[in-house]
């Protein structure tokens, strides 16, 4: 297989008359962590959701591990089993306990046996440090625990790529660290990750590449140290100034 894990070319997406993505090219190498940052409304979540076709692109090509997802004949359900996704709002299945959350897709989609599915589930729960919560219901867990379960659920499908859509944005500040810790550990194990995030510290320390988006375009991309540490574009500089030092700026200009 190629060294390139995700290749996006000329991606365009609009909702009605609103153009959200206006031509995006992204390449993610196998084993890399790519963080996408940018102001709200810049299209970064839409970009991520296009990678597993939760949003259908209007134009452009998306290739994940050699499979062109934008091909009309591709089995998208099969392709998605190899692309894990973690959502801002966790989206654990509310009617199933933690273990069942991790086994249901393994059994129904991958057709694994119950015993095998449970073993894999427990191993992944252990990876996120929540093995003892296997029989809890999602509502009994804290936000941070729910998000870690959601990560373990995605991992149980043995994905080649993991997509994270603002995984810590819905969490109380003191719970953010647990989730970022799990993500960092995943990155260290060599998982290919595409992360939409506002956690600049995380992006700086973990990302191999940072992409700054604004207004449906990629404004700037490169190694974390450069994009976050020494941004070249004015819009990147303004955005980072606001995010990194929020108290020393007036209200932003209307767009």
């Amino acid at each position: 297989m190629s060294e390139i894990s995700v290749e996006i070319t000329g991606l365009k997406k609009s909702f009605g008359s609103l153009d959200v993505l206006k031509g995006i090219d992204v390449t993610v190498n196998r084993g890399d962590v790519v963080c996408i940052i940018g102001p709200s409304g810049s299209g970064k979540s839409t970009l991520l959701r296009c990678v597993n076709l939760l949003e259908e692109p209007n134009d452009g090509k998306i290739v994940v591990n050699g499979v062109e997802l934008t091909d009309q004949d591709v089995d998208i359900d099969l392709a998605r089993t190899k692309i894990g996704m973690v959502f801002q709002s966790f989206n654990l299945f509310a009617h199933l306990n933690v273990l069942a959350n991790l086994t249901v897709a393994q059994r129904k989609v991958l057709k694994r046996g119950e015993k095998e599915a449970q073993e894999i589930a427990l191993r992944n729960l252990d990876r996120v440090g929540l093995k003892e919560k296997a029989n809890s219901m999602p509502a009994q867990l804290s936000g941070g625990q729910q998000q870690r379960v959601a990560i373990a659920r995605a991992l149980s499908m043995d994905p080649d790529v993991m997509l994270f859509d603002e995984p810590t944005s819905a969490l109380d500040p003191e719970l953010v660290g647990d989730v970022l810790g799990v993500m960092r550990q995943l990155a260290d194990e060599g998982m290919t990750m595409l992360v939409v995030t506002h956690e600049m510290q995380f992006a700086r320390e973990v990302a191999d590449k940072v992409i700054f988006m604004d207004g449906g375009y990629i404004v700037e991309e490169g190694p974390a140290a450069e994009v976050i540490g020494n941004p070249q574009e004015t819009r990147t500089q303004e955005f980072l100034a606001r995010v990194l030092d929020p108290t020393h700026h007036g209200p932003s200009d209307p767009v």
Binding site: D77, R80, G84, M85, S89, F90, F93, V104, V109, G143
Partner: protein, 265 residues
């Protein structure tokens, strides 16, 4: 007389209580209690009704209702999915069905099934099929809208999570959405079950054998041989034996799901 607003409200309340007491006393004095007792509480008639009122009538009411509810639930689910379908004709068919059968008396459906369909299609339904189809057809019209609302009440993120794990649309619907939708709509479905329990009495229209009597038919039959309204009182109480616990259950489920939302997390 300058009464404060609060005082006036207080006197008004007293006057209402007084009025109620006066009405109760007038009724108590004017009523012929002996007459009423013989009209409603003929203990001999009451005794004669047992045990058949339970072993035949109550049992049959339960069976008829259960059959109708089961069929109605299945058909209602199909209709709800049709209403949510991306295929427009499915939506139209479901809408027409629901509007039609919600808008006509259930009795007409019973008559149609018992007398119209056999004439038109040369099929003769037995009593269980008739009651199951008739109650189910009517119940489905009501339950379809409830089920549709329940399905739509399941957060969109649940489907997205399921799809992102590789489940197909249908698989996500069956394993993730519908189980959660039914939790949400359990209280209104219980109410529908109460309505169907009462509507099961309409089966009388097709003419029943003795061992097929349900509560209302049983009550009317006994009434024709009895000098009092006692049979009606007895079968009325039997209905309450079924419906009161269901009503309580419905309110309990409503309280429980109201406290903790099934959604979001």
């Amino acid at each position: 007389m300058a009464l404060s607003k609060r005082k006036r409200a207080e006197y008004f309340r007293y006057s209402q209580y007084t009025l109620l007491v006066v009405i109760a006393l007038v009724i108590a004095f004017l009523a012929d209690w002996e007459q009423i007792r013989t009209a409603f509480f003929n203990f001999k008639t009451m005794g004669d009704m047992f045990p058949n009122v339970i072993t035949i009538a109550l049992k049959n009411t339960l069976i008829y209702t259960a059959l109708g509810f089961a069929f109605g639930l299945a058909l209602g689910l199909v209709l709800a999915l049709m209403k949510l379908s991306s295929i427009a004709p499915y939506r139209w068919i479901a809408t027409v069905y629901i509007e039609f059968f919600r808008g006509i008396p259930a009795l007409l459906v019973f008559i149609g099934l018992a007398f119209g369909v056999p004439l038109a299609f040369q099929i003769q339904f037995d009593i269980y099929s008739t009651v199951m189809l008739a109650l189910g057809i009517v119940g489905a019209a009501y339950m379809a809208e409830t089920i549709r609302a329940g399905i739509q009440a399941v957060p969109k993120g649940q489907v997205e999570a399921a799809r992102s794990l590789g489940m197909s649309q249908g698989r996500a619907m069956i394993t993730i959405v519908i189980p959660q939708a039914f939790r949400i709509i359990l209280p209104p479905l219980t109410n529908e079950l109460i309505l169907l329990t009462k509507d099961s009495s309409l089966i009388y229209i097709i003419g029943l054998a003795r061992d097929q009597y349900e509560l209302t038919k049983f009550g009317r039959e006994t009434l024709s041989r009895s000098p009092s309204l006692t049979p009606i009182l007895v079968v009325g109480l039997c209905y309450l034996i079924i419906t009161l616990p269901l009503g309580y259950l419905s309110r309990y489920l409503e309280r429980r799901s109201g406290g903790k939302k099934v959604s979001v997390l």
